[in-house]
Symmetry: C2
């Protein structure tokens, strides 16, 4: 008997993600969300709750739709270092060109926007994201190890953490306009230092 929604919540959330991703949560008003999505305030609040809930849903949607697929692909890639190089290559391309150029990564941005307050739900998403990235990186490094691409004695867990933090650095600097060349140089140096000495002579 009831009426049904006159819009697609998933599509709307996608637009909200793009808005919060680009502009940040604090400096994006509900009015902008309404203008961008075309749906009314009532529908927004009825579907997603208040602004905090909306942001949280958008952040989770971002991880689910943008981060997770990339992490999964990296973790499943058996090529070793080329897989990691491919990950960073795609990252730099996505951060510097195309539709989302200079937007950075919504999760990285969220780190800086964390209110000292009880942002526990947001923090949980951030930690889960970081864990997913580290895990994928670890898997790719293990594959590299199996193929003999890594220098002897390399601390696999530590290297995974290094590369994960490096990705955050790329995300951050890309937002300020860092050149793809500079970012690529940093990544290539990091990857080169994982290989045995012989390959760099």
């Amino acid at each position: 008997m009831p009426d049904v929604k006159h819009f697609d919540p998933d599509a709307v959330l996608d637009q909200v993600v793009r808005l919060f991703w680009r502009r940040g949560a604090a400096s994006t008003g509900i009015a902008e969300v309404v203008a961008e999505t075309g749906i009314s305030r009532s529908s927004l609040y009825a579907t997603f709750g208040g602004k905090r809930d909306l942001y949280l849903a958008a952040l989770r949607g971002y991880v689910e739709r943008h981060s997770r697929p990339v992490f999964d692909r990296l973790a499943a890639d058996e090529r070793g270092l080329p897989a990691i190089a491919g990950f960073f290559g795609g990252l730099i391309a996505a951060r510097c060109t195309g539709e989302h150029a200079r937007w950075g990564c919504m999760v990285s941005n969220a780190h800086a926007s964390l209110d000292g307050a009880e942002d526990d739900d947001v923090k949980q998403v951030l930690d889960a994201h970081h864990d997913g990235l580290c895990t994928a990186m670890r898997a790719a490094l293990r594959a590299a190890g199996r193929r003999g691409q890594l220098r002897p004695g390399l601390a696999l867990e530590g290297a995974a953490q290094t590369l994960a933090l490096l990705a955050y650095g790329v995300n951050l600097r890309s937002r300020a306009g860092a050149s793809p060349a500079a970012l690529t140089a940093a990544v290539e140096a990091a990857l080169a230092s994982l290989t045995p000495d012989e390959e760099n002579r």
Copy 2:
């Protein structure tokens, strides 16, 4: 003949830095600044101009008082890798403990809060900061090279960029509550991969 200021602008700017550093610019109101500093709105506007000018002054003050001294010390340190290890050790300590624990780095935070708009002045500060960090890192790496601490064939410029981006990663993750141990593991792995193979067997 004129009257003179009834407060110390430098001390006030320090308080403003701490406020924007911790809470971010977008979510900090002028009212909070007035409450924190104790000076009145009139004095604030007369001394620093509007909010954008105030934030810019605070950002520049942060770089001048917090980043620059650390960069200079790193650049002048002739010990090589131990100097870099010391830099990161101090960074992790400052980010995870003490007065500014979990505040991250104001410049790193600024990256994420960049409005797509004409934030050209802010971007300039960010670029200068990044340049200072890379330059200091390069100098320290050169010292390491002179002392034979680096693996053969290492791309010095690339390694400097890698370490700089790594620092941004540390800043970001520390704000979300990353453990000093995890951050240290990432840094140590990065530094270890700069040395010749022999030292890790």
